[in-house]
């Protein structure tokens, strides 16, 4: 029963993401190289994240797959009563989906982080935030990793 439930919820999450993303980026041809979906659901305890409040900013095309800049900011007042608890970053086309998990305290003032990540090929990067009220929000960006060399 447990396995069936998880799978159904996983499909629901994917479906919701597709419905809400005009690009349909979450389930593109580059997807499903790893268990990103399972890890996402493990993080949310099976809850379907809503699109919104999280803004993930990444280049359209990576200059260097070994160091792709990533900025993420969550719309939150960051007060003791209403803040972002955790923010998980997943990459659905790497050998392993986990990238990082950020914890913010209200002392941060702003729920924002910037780092550089490794992407082994064209894929989707997901940012999922857990709010202090237990709700989950997410954003998705497709990043293209190209051979390059013929522009101009």
């Amino acid at each position: 029963m447990h396995v069936d439930l998880t799978r159904r919820q996983a499909l629901a999450v994917a479906g919701a993401a597709v419905a809400m993303l005009s690009t349909g980026a979450f389930v593109g041809p580059a997807s499903a190289a790893n268990d990103a979906r399972d890890q996402l659901l493990a993080f949310t305890g099976g809850v379907e994240p809503q699109m919104g409040r999280v803004a993930l900013d990444m280049p359209e095309i990576a200059e260097n797959g070994n160091a792709v800049p990533m900025n993420v900011i969550v719309d939150s007042p960051m007060t003791d009563e209403d803040h972002v608890r955790r923010l998980m970053i997943l990459a659905d086309g790497n050998p392993s989906p986990a990238v990082a998990t950020f914890h913010f305290s209200p002392l941060a003032g702003v729920a924002q982080a910037n780092t550089r990540i490794r992407l082994g090929g064209t894929q989707n990067v997901l940012a999922v935030a857990e709010m202090s009220d237990g709700s989950f929000f997410m954003d998705v960006r497709e990043v293209k990793v190209t051979i390059g060399g013929c522009g101009g």
Binding site: A98, T101, F104, A113, T115, R118
Partner: protein, 109 residues
């Protein structure tokens, strides 16, 4: 291997209450993934900075649990909004047991 020295840039160290400080950090580290093979075809063991933490007078501000998908020489930027003067302490923890720390004094007026 010598202990890597972090580099830190704060947007300000002398602020008035309510202001948010932008903190940027860089540290030299190969972030060895554990999937790479050396010249003899043997897997190089994983050795990454697995945790980065920022504390303000002992209270956690920001923490990053990092995986091998974080790039070599990790760059990490975050914010802190101190309500009183104090010390920002930055900590990097590696798989091979290193604990690298740095401190920045902040004045709030």
């Amino acid at each position: 291997m010598s202990t890597p020295r972090p580099r830190i840039r704060l947007s300000a160290t002398d602020i008035s209450a309510g202001e948010v400080i932008d903190v940027r950090t860089l540290i030299s580290h190969t972030m060895e993934t554990g999937n790479r093979r050396d010249g003899d075809g043997n897997l190089v063991p994983r050795n990454i900075i697995h945790t980065f933490r920022a504390e303000y007078d002992g209270e956690v501000v920001f923490e990053a649990a990092m995986e091998p998908a974080i790039s070599a020489n990790p760059y990490m930027q975050f914010n802190v909004a101190p309500r009183r003067s104090g010390t920002l302490r930055l900590i990097w923890l590696t798989d091979d047991g290193l604990e690298i720390t740095a401190e920045e004094a902040i004045t709030v007026s």
